[in-house]
């Protein structure tokens, strides 16, 4: 065997090792899916059932009461079928995360442009304050924020959550957008400025379209963060504006609970995240280091 063949063989062994690790690592996800598609008896059978006939009732039942009860909610006898608490929470999750993502990404793009291209007094300090607002454990601000929301009538409203999430995603968006805008050649707007456009016009006409990829990546990160957020959603909402994640968290965790439905709900929350992660591709590292490491 020459050197080249030896390396190739070694590579092959390593890929097999990686696949084995992956299988072990992904077991929880497989088990979540299997629990979601089993009947209640199968899900609790002991020893566990490795072969079962998949059924998708759980995915339907979590959205309606009467067909099997809402997620984690024991409601006695309910004949009439109507949207469950989870249906409302799921809708809330979608509305809140989309609106706050659009707001945070857009505002972050504007500020990011200013920080990237223009001279701002105390720029470094401002950026540090912005970054540390993201590092901060939510505990520290949670208490006054709950009091504030109650005082302003924003408690348990989607609007209140949207405002909160916009603020917390803004810090991240500004840093991400700076890192992307730094990559766009300055010549784009300089030519436009010479042509007599104002910087404001030049920005929207020539720079903004170039920011598409950066804004998409930033938006996906914001979307995933909001979609998964728990602490504020738990503390700032009650019945009405509660999102799906605290909804799942509060479904009781004992043997009496329908784990098939919890698994189905969890699975629905995880699917979009999987798709978005694949869409992000090379921008993952950049996102998780606030734009510090580019690949």
């Amino acid at each position: 065997m020459n050197e080249f063949q030896r390396r190739k063989a070694k590579n092959r062994v390593i890929v097999v090792v990686l696949l084995v690790i992956l299988v072990v690592y992904f077991f929880p996800i497989y088990w979540m899916f299997s629990t979601a598609t089993k009947s209640k008896a199968e899900a609790f059978s002991f020893p566990p059932k490795w072969i079962w006939k998949p059924q998708f009732n759980n995915f339907r039942d979590i959205f309606f009461t009467g067909t099997g009860g809402a997620l984690g909610r024991v409601r006695g006898i309910e004949v009439e079928s109507k949207p469950s608490a989870f249906a409302r929470q799921f809708t809330n999750s979608i509305i809140v995360s989309f609106i706050s993502t659009i707001l945070a990404t857009f505002l972050g793009a504007l500020s990011g442009y200013v920080f990237s291209r223009m001279t701002v007094r105390g720029k470094d300090d401002l950026l540090f304050v912005i970054l540390s607002s993201r590092m901060l454990p939510p505990v520290v601000v949670a208490i006054p924020l709950v009091i504030m929301c109650r005082a302003l009538g924003l408690f348990d409203t989607r609007g209140g959550l949207i405002i909160m999430y916009t603020a917390f995603n803004l810090a991240f968006s500004v840093w991400m957008m700076i890192s992307f805008i730094d990559d766009i050649p300055k010549e784009y707007e300089e030519v436009a400025l010479v042509d007599g456009y104002s910087r404001f016009q030049a920005f929207f006409k020539f720079v903004f379209p170039e920011m598409r990829v950066g804004m998409a990546a930033t938006a996906i990160f914001n979307l995933v963060m909001t979609w998964n957020e728990f602490t504020f959603a738990l503390l700032l909402t009650g019945e009405n504006a509660r999102t799906a994640i605290p909804g799942i968290a509060q479904s009781l965790g004992t043997a009496g609970v329908n784990w098939g439905q919890i698994a189905a709900g969890s699975f629905l929350m995880v699917i979009p995240v999987v798709i978005f992660t694949f869409l992000l591709g090379d921008n993952l590292v950049r996102g998780f280091t606030f734009g510090a490491i580019k690949e």
Binding site: L22, V139, N228, I248
Partner: protein, 302 residues
């Protein structure tokens, strides 16, 4: 000139644009982050319960001195430290190992890498909830597999004093190992290939190459990872909430949970006192991040 008219958009000055673009961001941050921070600093010096109509009464540093005298609080900090240390060690060993394996060219590398990254994008609540299902003492799949394969008797993962903290560590390792994989890969790919080739020519050992070529290039990135992980651990709340609920007893009430905690802020309503504890936590996080950032700068300059 064609296309450019003297509209309002053309008359916006650079300065006007600067304010217009920055104002919304700073309004949001000022009202929703800076103001609450200042307010909670004030509350931390007050005797106050948010569920009563009584206004906050200024009592100086009494909240802080009370907390420092509590044996309970110290125990929570020790438990938090123990958790952080265990979780970070395992995440680094596993994450760096997987990254070393992934750091080569092979068919399907991108898909495999993205698959390894996935768990950290999932909601910790969903993961924690599901690990609770899998770690259940009597009908959990984990105990079943351990029993069937190794004959290990049933372990009360989430409900015993002995193992509850490990159930948190396991879950945290599952969620965050991908983060170390991701950052290690970024560091590893920054090592110039010619260094390895030169070392091969000199017949350097594998350990020598790792110690003197790989490690210096990867160290700054790993430091960054350590910084993020440690600071994240002080936000570790959601998994505790769904997995052990702080129990049994107080054993898994790590600091973030202890504050939110419900026991201090939202159950017993010692609002002032919990603000004080939150500030102690904030100071620790700021101190930690400064140590790391300084170290990072030193490594980068060297």
């Amino acid at each position: 000139m064609p296309g450019i008219q003297n509209t309002w958009a053309n008359r916006v000055t650079d300065r006007g644009m600067l304010y217009f673009f920055l104002l919304p961001t700073f309004a949001f941050l000022l009202f929703l982050i800076v103001f609450p921070l200042v307010w909670s600093l004030y509350l931390s010096f007050c005797n106050y319960s948010a569920n009563t109509a009584n206004p906050p009464v200024f009592i100086g540093v009494k909240n802080y001195s009370f907390l420092f005298q509590q044996k309970d609080v110290w125990e929570r900090f020790v438990a938090t430290g123990e958790f952080v240390l265990l979780a970070v060690i395992f995440e680094f060993i596993l994450g760096f190992g997987i990254a070393m394996l992934l750091n080569r060219e092979f068919y399907g590398k991108r898909v495999l890498t993205t698959l390894f990254i996935l768990p950290m994008m999932f909601s910790p609540v969903v993961v924690g909830k599901f690990f609770r299902f899998m770690l259940d003492t009597n009908w959990g799949i984990v105990n079943y597999i351990l029993g069937a394969l190794f004959g290990i008797p049933k372990i009360a993962w989430t409900t015993s004093y002995e193992y509850a903290i490990y159930s948190l560590v396991i879950t945290d390792v599952w969620i965050w190992t991908p983060f170390i994989v991701l950052l290690s890969l970024a560091g590893l790919s920054s090592v110039p290939r010619y260094l390895y080739e030169a070392a091969d020519v000199d017949r350097a050992s594998g350990w020598f190459k790792f110690r003197y070529i790989t490690l210096p290039y990867v160290a700054p990135v790993l430091t960054l990872a350590l910084l993020f992980r440690t600071m994240d651990a002080f936000r570790f709340f959601d998994v505790i909430y769904v997995l052990t609920e702080g129990g049994p007893g107080y054993s898994t009430q790590l600091i973030p949970y202890y504050i939110y905690i419900y026991k201090l802020a939202f159950s017993y309503w010692h609002t002032g006192r919990s603000c004080a504890l939150a500030y102690i936590l904030l100071i620790i996080v700021i101190a930690l991040s400064n140590i790391y950032i300084n170290y990072l700068n030193r490594v980068r300059r060297a």
